[in-house]
């Protein structure tokens, strides 16, 4: 209570400062006069009395100052003063301030931007409740299969059984399927998530409008729209709730719209999964572990359950099934985690380099301000007071850097997102400069301000007054300790820059190596159109085959189309369908696997894959599902080393219909005769050698989705609409899923991550070079300034300008060389980490040496400018200035 009243009184005094001063003045006068009158009475002369009275009263100034202080919020007002003074100091030296702010803004901006990506993509990608305990299940074969795993697919009955598990908190079944929006003018594919009735409650995300479905209303035909679909198809009209949506000729009542971050499987519409009791209809299973249950424990606990399902229906599970429990974001973490971590490391280095710059500048400036500091110290400022003043200035620069940095981040985040590989982060991820990111930026700025401000502040507040009085202040304060510190900072900066530069060059080389990999196919001018058959259509094999052939023919009739090939999935550089392989003439070879592609023979022409040996199969062979096969060169070389592959027989024992939606000709798993050999294409990413691949007629096994590879004349995307029309001319209700080009696929699958790393590291290293150059420039300029008198004497005694310049450069040479050596050492040390996170390696000595040499040139250039200027200074003036 007392404290509050006191606080109020202080507040009031804030607004009555002038009156307080006036009171004090008047009081002091009265006091002195009264005392003087008394002294006069004691017999002193009026003049004497007055002077004695004044002397007794003591210094008037201190009395006013102390009294004023009684009323102040001590620290706050002191700080406001410091801030005001600091701002004035910064404004007085705009060049200095600008360089400091720029150094910090770049460092803070870059690290904030990368942090916001890490936050959105790795740390907090999902809006779901308990997302860190949510897992996906994968199954793999215990034997071989090269670590290949698939989603765990369970039928309804098995899904129900999983609810009993004591390691799972909840489990949901989902299925994403294209349905056709009917009742409109044209057929449009609607990506529909069929979710078990508990799923929307499981996610714990409330609807933005309307409500979600749950156990109570899941038996009705209801639908919940995704935010994206609601935007694009309902123009953000909240009235969408309650309307009807016709899917596959059935009406669904829209009961809700989800918020934007709910993007499960990027579906358009969510409907309840309808019970079918069909044991062949399977769903993707997801679950949330009970708190405290590790993935390993869950894996061990559920393995037996899954194994028992596999025994009951072996057809649907790989042999010797192994369950894998993985975090929801595991795939993203594996693909991008290392990349983002190394980028974050890179930006932190950048930040350190920027801070070193600011630190150097602060130190240099504190020397130039030594006169001011000495005066303040002489009139009684404590060291704490001086340090506080300097730290406040550092914080001001930090605050400015933070503000600018956040602006930089705001610009950089969309840029980073654009250059990030497509589909490489969770659909739900919202990468933005949000509150957490701001908090990061602010704390980073604060910490860096303390880092770069503290040492210079401590150093320059250590003032030996007598020395300042006696000697030229500059000479004293430009002492060796300080130049050693500057040297260390410069060396550190250069070391980090060497490292960043080496990483940038190396990641660019990695990218270019991938980019220039001989492909074995020609991705230019190829359009890829993906189709999925509406659920339950074309279920008769001959009819489905005929439909595929019709679609292919219709598209190849489009003018300008050169060739159209059918394939079910997996376009280079990645194949997706791996099957077991047996060879007729080498029965001893077991546990072999091969990438299987069931295609139409025009696929080779469309993709630009050359036929090396033998022939392609004919239309007649396609129509009767002939038992023929074409292998790639790697296949032929691995199994029939040097001898002709033609006429050999191979078999894929599990190449048959494994789900209801695949239709197989009887005997698709029979022996097939090799009739041709084609060139290799990458089928497991660009960085790995092609693996054995086999191509068979698509009519052997027909899936319910297929792709058209269309080789065109000119820009393939110009053909998107005509291809769509040609497909719907065959069947108006066949929707088109996705249209891309082979080049886009190559980019996304082949080198997008490497390009991303290379681009960002290149940006970082350019900034790092600029910062290091500025740092070196300031230090050399400072050293030149300190030695002006000496240089003047030397010049007056006849030293050549060139030798003077060399003299100046020489003083900085040790720091620069130490930095280069440190950088090379750092490359060696950090190599292992970098290799673990990315494909880049810093072990090439030529790379390191050329990078160091390049940086050396830049640094020398940066120091030559001030050194030359120093060497050219008029000696007379330099000498005269100092004798003042």
């Amino acid at each position: 209570m007392n404290l509050f009243a006191e606080w109020l009184r202080r507040c009031r005094a804030l607004f009555q400062r002038d009156r307080l001063d006036q009171h004090l003045r008047e009081e002091a006068e009265a006091h002195i006069e009264m005392r003087a009158a008394e002294l006069q009475n004691e017999g002193l002369s009026p003049v004497e009395a007055l002077s004695r009275s004044r002397k007794e009263f003591g210094p008037l100034l201190r009395m006013t100052e102390d009294s004023r202080q009684a009323w102040q919020f001590q620290t706050v007002e002191g700080l406001t003063e410091d801030v005001r003074y600091g701002l004035r100091q910064l404004a007085k030296d705009p060049g200095f301030t600008a360089i400091c702010l720029l150094s910090l803004a770049l460092g803070i901006g870059a690290s904030t931007a990368v942090f916001s990506v890490i936050w959105g993509v790795l740390l907090h990608p999902y809006p779901y409740s308990g997302a860190d305990r949510m897992v996906t299940f994968r199954v793999a074969s215990g034997a071989g299969q090269n670590g290949f795993s698939n989603y765990l697919l369970l039928n309804e009955h098995e899904f129900e059984a999983l609810h009993q598990s004591d390691v799972l908190d909840a489990v949901i079944a989902t299925d994403s399927w294209d349905m056709v929006a009917t009742g409109k003018d044209w057929a449009e594919a609607v990506r529909t998530g069929k979710l078990s009735s508990n799923a929307l409650e499981y996610f714990g995300v409330p609807a933005m409008f309307g409500r979600i479905f749950n156990k109570s209303n899941a038996s009705e035909r209801v639908a919940v729209l995704s935010h994206r679909y609601w935007q694009s198809h309902y123009g953000q009209d909240p009235g969408a709730v309650g309307q009807m949506l016709q899917l596959d000729r059935e009406n669904y009542r829209i009961i809700g719209v989800m918020p934007p971050q709910f993007a499960w499987f990027r579906d358009d519409v969510y409907i309840p999964l309808r019970s079918t009791n069909d044991p062949d209809r399977t769903y993707i299973i997801d679950g949330r572990l009970k708190a405290g249950v590790s993935r390993k424990v869950a894996e061990d606990s559920l393995q037996a359950t899954i194994a028992s399902f596999a025994i009951a229906s072996p057809k649907r599970f790989p042999p010797d099934v192994r369950l894998k429990v993985r975090g929801m974001n595991s795939a993203v973490e594996e693909k991008l985690g290392g990349t983002l971590k190394s980028l974050f490391g890179g930006v932190l280095l950048l930040l350190v380099i920027g801070c070193a710059n600011v630190s150097i500048l602060f130190l240099v400036r504190s020397v130039c301000r030594s006169g001011e500091l000495a005066v303040r110290s002489a009139i009684g400022a404590s060291r704490f007071r001086l340090v506080r003043q300097l730290l406040v200035e550092a914080l001001l620069v930090g605050t400015g850097g933070c503000t600018l940095g956040v602006l930089v981040a705001n610009v950089a985040v969309p840029g980073i997102l654009r250059s990030m590989p497509q589909n490489s982060f969770p659909n739900e991820a919202a990468v933005e400069v949000n509150g957490y990111v701001l908090l990061f930026a602010v704390s980073v700025s604060f910490i860096t301000a303390m880092l770069f401000g503290l040492w210079p502040a401590l150093e320059s507040s250590r003032i030996d007054l007598s020395q300042v009085m006696q000697a030229s202040s500059k000479r004293v304060l430009g002492s060796s300790a300080r130049s050693r510190f500057n040297g260390t900072l410069i060396a550190g900066q250069i070391a980090l820059t060497v490292f960043l530069l080496a990483a940038a060059v190396e990641s660019t080389r990695t990218f270019l190596r991938l980019y220039r990999t001989p492909l074995g196919y020609d991705p230019s001018h190829v359009l890829i159109v993906s189709l999925q058959l509406p659920d339950g259509t074309h279920m008769e094999i001959a009819e489905r085959q005929h439909f595929f052939a019709q679609v292919r023919q219709s598209v190849s009739d489009v003018p300008g189309v050169k060739a159209v090939g059918l394939y079910p999935f997996g376009f280079p550089p990645r194949a997706e369908f791996m099957r077991k392989l047996e060879l007729y003439d080498q029965p001893s070879l077991t546990a072999q696997t091969v990438f299987a592609n069931s295609i139409s023979p025009e696929f080779f022409e469309a993709a630009g894959i050359p036929l090396v040996d033998g022939r392609l199969w004919s239309d007649a062979e396609t129509n009767r599902a002939g038992r023929v096969a074409i292998v790639n060169r790697t296949f032929a070389e691995r199994y029939w080393n040097g001898q002709s592959a033609l006429g050999r027989r191979v078999r894929m024992p599990d190449f048959k219909a494994v789900t209801k939606w695949m239709l197989a000709h009887p005997g698709s798993d029979d022996w097939l005769e090799v009739i041709g050999v084609v060139g290799d294409t990458p089928n497991h990413g660009l960085s790995e050698k092609p693996r054995p691949a086999i191509y068979v007629p698509y009519s052997l096994v027909l899936t319910d989705s297929f792709n058209l590879a269309i080789r065109t004349d000119g820009d393939p995307l110009d053909y998107a609409n005509s291809a769509r029309r040609a497909i719907q001319a065959v069947n108006a209700s066949q929707p088109v899923n996705e249209i891309r080009t082979a080049e886009q696929i190559l980019g996304d699958e082949g080198w997008a991550v490497e390009k991303f790393i290379a681009t960002l590291f290149a940006c970082f290293s350019v900034v790092a070079i600029a910062l290091a150059a500025v740092g070196v420039y300031s230090v050399v300029a400072f050293a030149t300034e300190m030695r002006r008198q000496e240089l003047g004497i030397r010049a007056a005694l006849g030293a050549q300008r060139l030798s003077l310049m060399l003299l100046i450069l020489h003083s900085g040479a040790r720091a620069v060389l130490a930095g280069l050596v440190g950088g090379i050492a750092l490359c060696g040390v950090a190599n292992a980490t970098l290799q673990r996170w990315t494909q880049a390696s810093l072990s090439d000595p030529a790379l390191i040496i050329s990078v160091s040499f390049g940086l050396l040139l830049i640094v020398v250039a940066a120091s030559c400018i001030p050194a030359w200027r120093g060497a050219c200074a008029d000696p007379i003036r330099a000498l005269r200035e100092n004798s003042d």
């Binding site: 007392n2 009081e27 009265a30 003591g58 102390d66």
Partner: protein, 108 residues
């Protein structure tokens, strides 16, 4: 600030004591302290005012302008209720301190 010959905090106590018998202006307070202590506790006159201001902030004193005996415009300080309470506390504390010191001097 308090001059070195004071025990810390005594200046407050002396001022409170001086004002216990009624409002005084600054000069009178310093006179009263000097006189009462037989000139032993002389303070630098100027240092009285910061102390008075600190006490105003704490709410022990209030100040208003008035006229002196010699018809001069002066600022008169007087005790508030809080100040009177504080005076009692300070006196007690001081006596306890002195008592403790005397005890120590006798026994050690």
């Amino acid at each position: 600030m308090e001059s070195p010959q004071f025990l810390p905090g005594t200046l407050y106590m002396l001022i409170l004591q001086a004002l216990a018998r009624g409002p005084l202006h600054g000069y009178a307070i310093s006179q009263r302290i000097k006189a009462a202590s037989a000139e032993d506790l002389s303070i630098e006159d100027g240092s009285l005012y910061p102390a008075l201001n600190r006490m105003l902030v704490k709410g022990w004193l209030k100040a208003e302008w008035g006229t002196s005996d010699t018809n001069r415009r002066v600022r008169l300080y007087s005790l508030t209720d809080l100040g009177r309470k504080q005076a009692a506390i300070e006196r007690q504390e001081f006596e306890r301190l002195i008592g403790a010191i005397q005890l120590a001097m006798r026994t050690v």
